[in-house]
């Protein structure tokens, strides 16, 4: 279990963490989500004693990390994809870490097999691609068969197989009653893997919830309709207060004629029957899920520090139009 209690930290004048508190429970994968520069890495480093917080504390299994007798048995951490010295062989890198805690050589071979880097055992870490380096970092984290996993963006640079492997790894560790803290800036990835969700922005915890609750709350279903008869459409739902009809902008690929609306609060089948009965002409009639990514973006947009400028310049909207990127 990883308990973060009121961590605050400034780098110079810049506050990086502002009273960050949350718990990564045993038996759960805790997704730690936030835009770049939100303080995810700083929090994880503070939890491992790499960064001394100005106030607050972090406990791993009830004690500060430095007080554990076998640190690698307590926490396996992936903090940086490129964690090995360029001129050192992958094997020597892992062996040096293992030796620190008295872990035998055969465990080094074992984790190299597990992460699929056994074939490049003697190659210098500097010759590794980002994905291979990431695997090496994960291998180092698994050396002590730890009770807690702290993974800072572990899927960066991994191929789809690797991404799936990391997902299974997290699930497996959680199923064994261990705590997994997984940071990411991708909502879709966390939604697939995590049980609990901690969302951070500009050093503050924005929301602490479970993935299930977050999905229930944010993935409301809606209907998107394009019709040449907007008045008729409004009339149909005029006396149904639970249904809202809002005009929206057309998406790429939509029919160019007619007006576009989003209808929330109406069931697909019921709406279809009513439209048929009312003889409403529609050019487009689809059901949509609001994307989790979109909900997350809305939540963190105001606190995102490093925003890229929109390429087209035309789209001023904060929410990207690809709402069909739903992953459930």
């Amino acid at each position: 279990m990883i308990e973060i209690e009121g961590l605050s930290k400034r780098f110079g004048a810049k506050p990086v963490l502002d009273h960050v508190s949350f718990t990564a429970e045993d038996g759960k994968v805790t997704g730690f989500l936030g835009p770049n520069g939100a303080g995810k890495s700083t929090t994880m480093r503070a939890a491992l004693g790499l960064i001394a917080p100005d106030s607050g504390r972090a406990l791993i299994d009830g004690r500060p990390f430095a007080e554990h007798r076998a640190p690698l048995r307590t926490v396996g951490a992936v903090l940086d994809a490129k964690s090995a010295h360029k001129g050192r062989s992958a094997y020597a890198h892992l062996l040096s870490i293992a030796l620190t805690n008295g872990i035998p050589k055969r465990r080094v071979d074992e984790v190299m097999d597990l992460t699929g880097i056994a074939a490049v055992k003697t190659r210098k870490a500097g010759a590794f691609s980002l994905g291979m380096s990431q695997r090496l970092s994960i291998a180092a984290a698994l050396l002590g068969d730890p009770h807690n996993l702290v993974l800072d963006e572990p899927i960066n640079g991994l191929d789809p197989e690797g991404v799936k492997w990391v997902r299974d790894l997290c699930r497996y560790y959680a199923a064994q009653g261990r705590a997994v803290l997984l940071s990411s800036h991708l909502m879709s990835e966390v939604a697939l893997t995590a049980d609990n969700l901690v969302i951070i922005g500009q050093g503050r915890i924005l929301e602490t919830t479970t993935v299930a609750d977050f999905v229930a709350e944010h993935s409301t279903r809606s209907l998107r309709v394009i019709t040449p008869e907007p008045e008729k459409l409004r009339a149909i739902f005029a006396h149904a207060p639970e249904v809202t009809v809002t005009p929206i902008t057309r998406e790429t690929g939509d029919p160019q004629e007619g007006a576009a609306f989003r209808i929330t609060g109406a069931d697909l089948g019921a709406a279809a029957c009513v439209f048929a009965a009312a003889q409403l002409v529609t050019y487009l009639f689809v059901q949509e899920h609001a994307s989790l990514e979109e909900a997350y973006m809305t939540l963190t947009h105001t606190s995102a520090e490093y925003l890229g400028r929109s390429m087209s310049g035309a789209t001023q909207s904060a929410q990207p139009a690809q709402s069909k990127e739903v992953q459930q």
Binding site: A66, R88, T100, E110, Y172, A174
Partner: protein, 365 residues
């Protein structure tokens, strides 16, 4: 489709049979990313990502930290390069000094031509030659020490190192001990070779034995030289800890060993009012080391990291083994050789203490 399902089923059966069969230590067939990870619904089946190897409970101890540091040091090319440079530079320097002296001794001072009957050299000169390049090599072992720390920071290995061993002072102590041991062995090998080289070149010329009161010289030249170089490696670790960047650490080292002595000696020439700066200069590591190496014997070996010079013009002076630049100005601090040793020790202790404090307190980003 159905064939695939059958295969999967058979596979599962095989697995459960195996896990039911025996629980002793076994190695799974090579597991790669493509092998499906153990199902979480498998009900606590042993294995998966956990270890199959049975081993004593892992534990962080100083001895384990030491073994890790040995592994780290010996798996980097830069370590070998520096150790070899150190072990080769010492005999090369010694050979140069001894050869030059052998050549001078073979000259007839009256005619300037070579004679077949060279004058014998004082044995102290041989020991002086053997340790002649110790002040130069201070830079090499110093860099070894600096880099022992800074490669960790420049490659972000420090994160995994401190995650495996969050006790930073223990981490630094282990690193220092390994670095010091490597520096000592390489220096000792280098100095023994240097002695051999000096002996080989000077014995044909003939040597007058050591005078009374000079008998510490062999020990100080060889063992003391190796210890001086080792001390510099520890000082380097301290500087590396303070700077935590290779550039910064090496520059600090160069400043301490080369720039500061030159600057002080130049400034002290500005006038009598600044003569006291020479006293300060004598407390700097390179001059302290040079003074230790004399073991109180006036050996004409003027060598420091700044200038390794043999005054060819004054062969007579060298033959009489007098120190060319004995300070005439009185009132200057003139430490004895063992006082210089203590000064150097103070440098090492202070630099290491500051380095350890900085490493302990600084954030690893």
């Amino acid at each position: 489709m159905s064939r695939g399902a059958h295969a999967a089923h058979a596979n599962r059966n095989a697995r459960s049979a195996r896990s039911a069969g025996n629980t002793r230590t076994r190695r799974q067939p090579q597991q790669t990313w493509n092998v499906p990870a153990p199902n979480t619904g498998d009900g606590g089946r042993a294995g998966g990502y956990g270890t199959h190897a049975t081993f004593a409970a892992p534990r962080l101890t100083f001895l384990n930290a030491l073994r890790a540091e040995i592994c780290k040091a010996l798996s980097l090319k830069s370590t070998y390069v520096l150790l070899i440079i150190n072990a080769l530079l010492l005999p090369v320097g010694s050979a140069l000094m001894a050869w030059a002296m052998a050549f001078l001794m073979s000259l007839d001072p009256a005619t300037g031509t070579t004679t077949d009957d060279p004058q014998p050299v004082a044995e102290s000169y041989m020991w002086g030659s053997a340790s002649a390049f110790v002040p130069t090599c201070l830079l090499v072992t110093g860099i070894l020490g600096v880099m022992a720390v800074t490669v960790e920071y420049s490659s972000s290995t420090i994160q995994s190192s401190l995650t495996a061993n969050p006790r930073r002072v223990m981490f630094l102590n282990a690193k220092t001990l390994v670095t010091a041991a490597l520096a000592f062995v390489s220096s000792l090998v280098g100095l023994l070779l240097a002695w051999a080289a000096a002996y080989a070149l000077l014995s044909p010329v003939g040597m007058t034995p050591l005078a009374d009161g000079e008998h510490a010289l062999p020990w100080v030249s060889i063992l003391g030289g190796a210890l001086l170089l080792t001390a510099m490696a520890v000082l380097g670790v301290g500087l590396g800890g303070v700077c935590r960047s290779t550039m910064g650490g090496v520059f600090a080292l160069v400043g301490l060993l080369i720039i500061a002595p030159s600057a002080l000696s130049m400034a002290s020439l500005a006038g009598d009012r600044f003569a006291w700066l020479q006293s300060v200069a004598r407390c700097l590591p390179d001059q302290a080391a040079s003074n230790v190496l004399t073991a109180g014997v006036d050996v004409v070996v003027s060598s420091s990291s700044t200038n390794v010079s043999i005054d060819v013009g004054s062969a007579d002076a060298i033959a009489e083994t007098t120190v060319a630049a004995t300070p005439e100005t009185s009132g200057l601090f003139e430490p004895t050789w063992w006082q210089s040793g203590l000064i150097l020790l103070a440098w090492v202790v202070v630099a290491y203490a500051i380095g350890a404090i900085v490493v302990r307190r600084s954030d690893v980003k």
